[in-house]
Symmetry: C5
Subunit: 315 residues, 5 copies
């Protein structure tokens, strides 16, 4: 898979001229110079509280938050996505990781039946830019929109303004868009997922993270995904990894998402960090082998099995 | 149809002296020096999600968002109206298009029965001005108000302030005004449409986009429209194109809106972009022939049929 | 009726020293050097939509918004009150009119039964000051408060801050105060009207526009009004003109409001602009003859009948 | 009663060094160099509309708002508390009065049954500081909190920030704290009143105005008040005067509030201004004789009866 | 227990370089150079009104707010946590205390059944920084989040931004996190407490104050706490002291929280200040002996009994 050069990076028109170099650098860092994104999602300590990190079937290592940073450091990822405070507490010891600051988050305590979801922006962009200025290797921002929520307006407006400011400062932006709320009856309806992808484009995001569509008309998920990735236009589309499944199933899905569905990468969290450090590191490498180097599923499985290695040099 | 000169452009008193030249330039660009507006509406990816771009009866080309820009570039339009992010991702490759940035948008997931409509402003004007400064050919702004919604107050206030700021910076403003909400029983009532036109004037808009009125008293829609266009005073009135109908019906309606109803142009989206590139381009030309050059319907139909050409030089 | 001099103008203590001259000038302009206010209300295109401007019993001339400015220009008024955008579109052609910018407005679509009334501030004062700076003859601001609405708090706070800023910049302020909302059972109760007048004073307004009280204890409306005008203290009180009635009734009421009720002028809209230009102009002169020159009703009626003229020179 | 010196004034730590002299001056002015506060409450024109100023049992003089300023000028008070606009309209003619600007107010139209009470801040502190800078003798601010209202949060936050800013600028602050709302079953419960006093301290107020507690356990109101005044710590506690009662009852209560209940003064409105000017002036003197000079009730009654005089020189 | 040096303090990456020294100083002050926190909670005058300070079983000394400062001054604590205004009124007389300003608070009048809890930020950080600049010994901030409340979003956002600003200025931050609201059925569920600890970390807090978990699966509270303290990662965890219990029970629990549960200190209020000054002082010393010097329970009890002394020199 050929690397892309600085000249080949397509820079949106809202990246100010003086931030153009910074944007290109961040885009190339985040995509490991491939244009594809391997996002290691580490924002669940707020989103799912401690349930994703402790309990049956979860390696005990996952209880200590530093586990996430060890994986990010020893594995092969594009970016590690986490809240500003989490990154602030560990970044000094893991300076080489590419950080993507998740700008909003909510817990899962108040359910959709009680209240439509709203995930608040937790800090100004200025606080993030200051951290970057002080030396933290921040390459971009993340923000979640619950499309169809009664609070959709607030989240769309926060995201819309955030992207404008981020681009003006040379940061890339990934939108998480999940249809959810009383008005949404089928969160993974293919039309809805494709619509979500289009919303991300119109707001100016560089990448959009969506749930894989569940078609009920005979199409495979990957075929339905192709519609969404086309609708996303110049906004790269990546799929959420979802809950932990076996590696072969997971890697095959990922391969199909990219090669059939037109996805531009992946965004995986629990499936990685709920494992022991060694196993988690190998999984990041297997994922990156597919996402960043177009390896076959069999080769990626060999990486996961420890039979082969995969490093940044293999991209 | 005689072109208007820079001196003939009527400049509102809230255009600051230092922005006067810029306003005149933008007004002449948007109206192709005619005072009439041919607006190609491309904001449906948020408003209607993917339903307007993919499915039965829609050309497959419409799934790729770049389709919109190809039409804007190869056809004849006054402005292409889209969200800031959408424009940011493609403008560098289509620099000659006149862009009108749609400042607010909402999806159609939460219906009026659940909640009265509110469409949030998605980014500050500063972000748009910065893009313009960085070289994007932005000539104006758009904003939607749902009159009669319980959130009317918020949208009227956002629009009122936006117009003041836009004019101060030399941009023109088009308001989309649709009566909608629990309090509105007949969205296309002629009195209500005329009222909407007056609201746009009082807020200081340059153009107002309304739905064509549906009179139930024997008047034709165009006759009823004449009341609204008069009530709009110095604010130009254009009608929304609505869903896709056959070209002859569509072009005849448009001709009547202008020549009987006193409309100052048109605003059309789906009816154009759901067609193949070639057909869509021909339709923009047919529309512009009527709107910008006072051609007869038969001549415009010949343009649509490809029997005649229509270019900017014909205005 | 003797004119008041610059020295006789009572300047509130929140007019900053550097704005003192400007305030005196604006106060004298607005009151035609009499201390009384003849306000021509032209904010109904938002408040009542098109119903006040088109239909049975309304002269067809009223459909074109320019009608308002022609009346303001050819008639005799203190100020023409309208929204910022409306004034911006016509002021260049009618530069001699004294403009009072109505800072908030709402439509009548959402009724009180559905939701208590809230009328949002539609633009910052800065936008108005910029227009003034650019040459528009703006002498003051207007703002409506619905007392007793569940949104009373927001409107009182917007008005309170607006008056402070307006005075600091030398503009006069007129408050429209109408008791309205689920909690208000009798909108024209004399005690309530008197209370409204007191609220205006406490917020620092220069004039308050109220509906004429409807006493049910045998007092005449004008007698009841006297209580309100006294309660208003140094805030001048003017009565809303209400819907169109015959000129004699109207002018007699006005005379009594001033000479019995202690009113400091009048605020009339529909009753003027729903007439033909000539009749409307004559009515403004008849009103001003009473308000600004203490003429008798019979003389004012002669003015309205075209038997006598009344000009600024008669004040 | 010995006067306190500038050195004896206890200055809170949030009074910035450069504002220290100003704070001491204002504290001494407001307390007439006694540390005790005689507050003449004149904010009822918004709070109670015109009912407190006109009607049976109220002297007709009270209808004219200037009555309040005449009393403030001819009587003996610590401060006259009123809204910014009210003070702005009269202060130039009554420059010697110590003004305390009431920063928030609401009408009584929307009752607690319909909606929990919220009283909005009506203007920024900047507007008040500008008036002071322009020469108005403003010594402090007032703000009302309805404790236990569903809007408690907003009022506490406005008050908390206001006190910080006021102290930073050398102004003193008086909080009116009334428990009220659906959650409050006994507004004058002694524990609740004591709690309110503690809240004022924690927000940093200089004085708190509470309603006198109504104990139901055999204690006298003054004994119960002692608990509240102790709980208030370094925040001085004053009691609201309530509705008009006969002077002997009123003055005896006041004496007990101070000498048994530990109150640091009083805050009286209706009981003063509903009387004729002469009687009202005498009542302010009688109150001040007790509050500011520790005179006996009998002596104060003699002052009220006109048999003795009390002036600032008697403090 | 060895003291930690300036070099050993782990400074989060959002502490700006120019504030690094200040942060280290504040961290060492607050933890008495141990890395452990003994927090004397004095924010209940708003949270619980006067009920915690007066009544049966409470020493009468506690009614006077100065009691809190006497304890803070004569006892051994890490920080005294109270609202800005409370600290402002007494800090000049107790300059040696380390103050932690509680930035938000609510009363307990509106119960969770009526409305989910929201505790508003009561003043800007600027006001606190100004006090610090003026000489008050402020080392950090506190903020309460009610996780699972319908207002969780607002509190999380206020806290997230506050921590960023506080760290940028060199202050430490303690979050109080209590799950509460209609959606929360078991406020002390161990999983929920562990989740709360993780939220604090992700927001970037230095310490989190939680209620001790109540496990129902046979584990001891301290064992369950170990999960939470691990989940907190680099954010120190301290337990709330709760209502007054006998000293032996209290101190034994504290010992176990630290030595079994992995707690990094304690946060105690009522249990201390509801006692006489002498007893309260001895209790702070007994607590600090365990928290800051790893003394055995028996030795700490001897300190409480007055048989041994414990001073800062013993750390």
């Amino acid at each position: 898979m050929p690397k892309i050069t600085r000249e080949e990076v397509r820079v949106p028109a809202d990246v100010m001229p003086e931030a153009r170099d910074e944007y290109i650098t961040n885009y190339l860092k985040a995509t490991r110079e491939t244009g594809r994104l391997m996002l290691f999602a580490c924002d669940q300590k707020i989103e799912h509280l401690n349930k994703d990190f402790y309990g049956e079937g979860i390696d005990i290592a996952d209880l200590d938050p530093e586990h996430l940073f060890k994986i990010g450091s020893e594995g092969v990822c594009g970016v590690l996505a986490g809240q500003r405070g989490l990154v602030a507490q560990y970044a000094a010891d893991y300076p080489e990781i590419n950080y993507l600051i998740k700008m909003n988050s909510k817990t899962n305590l108040v359910g959709t039946k009680q209240e439509d979801p709203y995930s608040p922006q937790l800090y100004d962009l200025d606080a993030v830019l200051a951290m970057k200025e002080a030396g933290v290797n921040i390459v971009g921002l993340g923000y979640t929109i619950y499309l169809g929520s009664e609070y959709e307006a607030t989240m769309m407006a926060e995201a819309g303004e955030l992207i404008a400011q981020a681009h003006a400062n040379g940061l890339i932006v990934v939108l998480w868009i999940y249809p959810r709320g009383k008005a949404v009856t089928a969160e993974k309806d293919p039309d809805l997922i494709a619509g979500a992808a289009g919303v991300a484009l119109c707001l100016g995001a560089d990448f959009v993270k969506v749930n894989p569509p569940k078609p009920e008309d005979g199409r495979t998920p990957a075929e339905a995904l192709k519609v969404a990735s086309t609708a996303a236009g110049r906004c790269g589309l990546v799929c959420a990894g979802g809950s932990t499944v076996d590696a072969e199933t997971f890697l095959t899905q990922l391969y199909d998402q990219i090669h059939v569905g037109g996805a531009d990468g992946n965004a995986t969290g629990r499936n990685i960090h709920q494992r022991s450090l060694d196993e988690a590191v190998r999984l990041t490498k297997a994922i990156s082998a597919i996402t960043l180097a177009d390896w076959a599923v069999a080769d990626a499985l060999a990486v996961f099995a420890g039979e082969k290695d995969f490093t940044l040099a293999d991209i």
